[in-house]
């Protein structure tokens, strides 16, 4: 339950160990946001909470995993998709009847949006000399007032997303994303990043 040590649920063979869990258990574990749902224990009584606490933007983890699985390959592109800005990813302070949530978890929640953007900056620097390889897509406006649990506001989410996608610069970015996925230039060897970048 240490939010500082992310666990990867792999659906593919790897030299790394895997948890051997079921599909529904992995989905349940990644949804275990404190104050929303109780945690889940998988396998050897290992408790899990939602990765949003410690690893809401897993870009570096993805690169590290790619390095392990495809050590001799090149990177065609990396597409990072956000969940909107700031408050949309907050899960709120526990109510009166809630179980007491440790202060360090609340502090972690407050830092999520900052961490996401900091990670975006870090990854942008890694790819600074490799144009049109790293892309970040994130609905920047309008999602602030929509909480995780407000399922009835799905139409608002759709409207804000459509508005974002209609922006000229976003449209241009998406064209580049499509081109990078369909015919990657593969300018960077994965190993070029070096394992030292991946201290999280």
């Amino acid at each position: 339950m240490d939010a500082g040590i992310p666990v990867l649920f792999r659906s593919y063979q790897s030299q790394e160990t895997h948890s051997g869990c079921k599909i529904w258990e992995a989905a349940r574990a990644t949804s275990a946001a404190p104050t929303f749902f109780k945690h889940i224990e998988i396998g050897n009584k290992q408790p899990f909470i939602d990765g949003g606490l410690g690893c809401n933007n897993p870009s570096k983890l993805v690169l590290k995993e790619a390095q392990v699985v495809f050590p001799t390959h090149q990177i065609g592109c990396l597409v990072s998709i956000g969940a909107g800005q700031a408050e949309v990813i907050s899960i709120g302070v526990p109510g009166f009847f809630q179980q007491i949530v440790p202060t360090h978890i609340l502090d972690a929640l407050k830092g999520i949006s900052t961490d996401c953007e900091r990670m975006h900056e870090d990854i942008s620097l890694l790819f600074a000399n490799s144009s049109n390889t790293y892309f970040r897509i994130n609905v920047e406006q309008g999602m602030q007032d929509i909480k995780h649990s407000e399922w009835e506001k799905m139409a608002n989410v759709e409207a804000h997303t459509i508005q974002y996608l209609r922006k000229k610069e976003v449209g241009e970015k998406l064209t580049l994303v499509i081109s990078a996925i369909k015919s990657p230039k593969a300018q960077l060897m994965i190993e070029q990043f070096g394992i030292n970048y991946f201290v999280i």
Partner: protein, 65 residues
Amino acid sequence: MDVDTAIGAYNNLAQQVFGDPKQWPGDGKFKATKLEEVIKSIVGDVTGNPEDPLLEVGNASISRT
């Protein structure tokens, strides 16, 4: 599962899980049992078996989902 199907499945999940909060919130505001039930139903619809393992065996390559 294609994107439109996934969005539909999420809408249904969100409505069932968040539309029915616990009467007496304890360890979490929403019912984890309900969440598990809906997730298993989605997995069952796609793979045919709600208890399928996460790891793909055989020649399956890296998942594109």
